[in-house]
C-alpha cells in the first residue's frame, strides 16, 4: 500500500501550505522593514485594517496669491507637504485641504499646488479638497484644471474639467522625451500665434524654457525628476511658470561647502543673484557648465522676457523690481523647490525674432 505522505494529493497540499506560510512570513517581514525605514516602532496595528487616522485639514489663507502674500502661501505649502497632516484610511494616505476661505488666488499658486499634488501622488498620497466658497475663485480653480488631480471630501475624484484654452500645463518626469520636446515646440508656436497672430517657432523662447526645465530635471533632486511648465494666456501677454518641488537652487549651491564658507557674510538673496550672474562654478565643478541661469537673466536684461520672479528656499527675487527681492526672516517657512514666473508680450517677441 502506498504511504499517505507520498501521494500526489498529499504533496500538493503540503506545497500549498508551505507557500501560504512563506507568503505570510514574507508579508510580515516586509511590514517590519517598512516600519523600520520610517522609524516607527513595531505595533500591532497591522492587524487592524480598519484603522482610521484622520488629521486636521490644512486650511488655506484667504489671500492665496503667491507674489503678494508669499509668506502665508509658503506656510500653506509646507503644511500640505508635512507628514503631520497626513491622514490614513486603511492603506490610503491622504491630506485634507480646505480652500473654503480662499477669496484671492493667482496662477503662481495654482502652478505650485499642481506640482505639490503631482509629487504627493507619486508618493502615494492623495489630496482631498474642499473648494472655495468664493464663486470666482472656485471657477478659476476648475478652469485651471487643478481639480483634475484632486479628490472631493468623500475621497472621490472631481469630474474632469474640459481643457482650458487660457491656462495650460505641460508636465514631465524623468528624461525629457522626444515627444515632450515636440509638445513644448508646438506650445511655443501657439504662444507666438497668440501674441502675433502668426503661429511659428521661436527658437530663443524654446531656449529659455529648455534652460529652466533642464535645470529642474537635472538638479531639483525630486524622486521622479518632475517638472511643470505652466502657460496662461491673457489679452496682450502670456504668463509662464516653471515649478519643481525638489531641493531648491540655494540648497544645491550649499552642497559645495566652499561656496557657503566664502559667502558666509552675504545674505541668501545676494548669493542667489550671484548664481544668475555665473559667480559660482557648477556643483559638478565642471568649468564648462552653469550656463542656464545666466542665460535666463541675460534674456531678462535684453527685455525679451518681463517680470521675472524666482522663488527658491528662503529667497524671492523680483528681477523687475529689485527692492522687493529678499531673504525671508528666520521662522518663515522655506519653499522646498524652485519656482520661476515671467511674462512675454508682442514687444518681447519683436526683440527676439528680428535677427531671424
Amino acid at each position: 500500500m502506498k504511504k499517505l505522505y507520498t501521494t500526489p494529493e498529499y504533496k500538493a497540499n503540503q506545497k500549498r501550505r508551505f507557500l501560504k506560510i512563506e507568503k505570510k512570513f514574507r508579508k510580515e517581514r516586509l511590514a517590519e522593514l517598512r516600519a523600520k525605514r520610517k522609524g516607527k516602532p513595531k505595533t500591532k496595528e497591522k492587524h487592524n485594517h480598519q484603522a482610521l487616522k484622520i488629521k486636521l485639514p490644512v486650511i488655506a489663507p484667504s489671500d492665496l496669491r503667491l507674489i503678494e502674500n508669499t509668506k502665508k502661501c509658503l506656510e500653506f505649502f509646507r503644511n500640505l507637504r508635512s507628514e503631520e497632516f497626513r491622514s490614513k484610511s486603511g492603506k490610503i494616505e491622504f491630506v485634507i485641504v480646505s480652500l473654503k476661505e480662499v477669496t484671492q488666488i493667482d496662477y503662481g499658486t495654482i502652478s505650485i499646488l499642481t506640482a505639490i499634488g503631482d509629487d504627493l501622488k507619486f508618493k502615494g498620497v492623495i489630496l482631498r479638497s474642499f473648494l472655495p466658497d468664493h464663486p470666482q475663485c472656485k471657477e478659476y480653480m476648475i478652469e485651471s484644471g487643478y481639480l483634475n488631480n484632486l479628490y472631493d471630501d468623500n475621497g472621490k475624484p472631481f469630474p474632469k474639467a474640459p481643457k482650458s484654452e487660457l491656462m495650460f500645463f505641460e508636465k514631465g518626469c524623468g528624461r525629457l522625451s522626444d515627444e515632450e520636446s515636440r509638445k513644448i515646440s508646438l506650445l511655443i508656436k501657439k504662444i507666438v500665434g497668440h501674441l502675433t497672430g502668426v503661429e511659428k517657432y521661436c527658437q530663443p523662447l524654446r531656449t529659455i524654457i529648455l534652460e529652466i526645465c533642464g535645470n529642474s530635471i537635472e538638479w531639483s533632486g525630486t524622486d521622479n525628476k518632475q517638472w511643470l511648465l505652466g502657460v496662461k494666456y491673457r489679452d496682450d501677454r502670456v504668463i509662464f511658470t516653471v515649478t519643481d518641488v525638489g531641493k531648491g537652487i540655494l540648497k544645491s549651491l550649499y552642497r559645495r561647502l566652499t561656496t557657503r564658507f566664502f559667502e558666509a557674510f552675504k545674505s541668501n538673496d545676494e548669493i542667489l543673484k550671484g548664481a544668475f550672474d555665473k559667480k559660482y562654478g557648477s556643483t559638478t565643478k565642471e568649468e564648462n557648465r552653469n550656463k542656464g541661469l545666466p542665460a535666463v537673466k541675460a534674456n531678462f536684461n535684453q527685455g525679451t522676457i518681463n517680470n521675472l520672479k524666482v522663488l527658491t528656499n528662503n529667497v524671492i527675487l523680483h528681477f523687475d523690481e529689485d527692492t522687493l527681492s529678499k531673504e525671508f526672516e528666520k521662522g518663515t517657512p522655506r519653499f522646498k523647490g524652485t519656482f520661476y514666473q515671467w511674462e512675454m508680450t508682442n514687444d518681447c517677441l519683436t526683440k527676439l525674432l528680428p535677427a531671424q
Binding site: S177, S181, P204, T207, L210, G214
Partner: protein, 158 residues
C-alpha cells in the same frame, strides 16, 4: 576674375563635408546628457559628430556643421556636443577643421568658439573626463596624432 572665384569655390566646396543638426540628427535637440533627455548633445556627438569629424580629419577636409532651422537649442546641448569634440581631437585641430553655421542665432557660434572650446580644452589638459550617461559604440579619439577607436568611457554605475 569671376572664373577664378568660381573655381576657388568649387575646390573649397569639393573638400568640405557638411552636416546639419536638422537633417542628420533632430528638429528638436534637447538637453546635455542621454540620462535626462532623448535627443541630447551627448547623443548628437556620439551618433553624428564624432564620426563625421573623423572622416573629415582623415581626408584632410573641412567639416561644416549647420545649426539652423531646428526648433531651438539649450546651451548645454551645444556645449556637450562640441566640447566632446575638443576633448577627443584637441582645440587646434577642431578650430582648423570645423566651420559652424548659425545664421538664425549667431550667439550660439560665439558661445561655442569663445566659451565651449577653451573650457573643454582646459578640461582635456586637466584630464577631467567627459561624463557619459549611456552606453555608446566605440568612438574616435586622437592620441599622439593617431586616431584610435575605443569605448573610452562607460556610464557610472548607479
Amino acid at each position: 576674375m569671376g572664373n577664378d572665384k568660381r573655381l576657388f569655390n568649387e575646390i573649397t566646396t569639393s573638400t568640405m563635408k557638411t552636416i546639419s543638426v536638422l537633417e542628420d540628427f533632430s528638429e528638436f535637440p534637447a538637453l546635455r546628457h542621454c540620462n535626462i533627455s532623448d535627443e541630447s548633445g551627448e547623443k548628437f556627438y556620439h551618433n553624428v559628430l564624432n564620426k563625421a569629424f573623423k572622416e573629415a580629419y582623415e581626408k584632410n577636409e573641412k567639416l561644416t556643421v549647420n545649426l539652423d532651422a531646428t526648433a531651438g537649442y539649450a546651451s548645454s546641448f551645444l556645449d556637450e556636443g562640441f566640447g566632446n569634440l575638443v576633448y577627443d581631437f584637441t582645440l587646434d585641430i577642431v578650430k582648423s577643421k570645423i566651420e559652424i553655421i548659425s545664421e538664425q542665432e549667431p550667439h550660439w557660434k560665439e558661445m561655442i568658439l569663445n566659451q565651449t572650446y577653451p573650457q573643454w580644452e582646459a578640461r582635456r589638459k586637466s584630464k577631467q573626463q567627459p561624463k557619459v550617461t549611456a552606453n555608446h559604440e566605440a568612438w574616435f579619439r586622437l592620441i599622439n596624432n593617431e586616431l584610435k577607436l575605443e569605448i573610452w568611457e562607460r556610464p557610472a554605475a548607479v
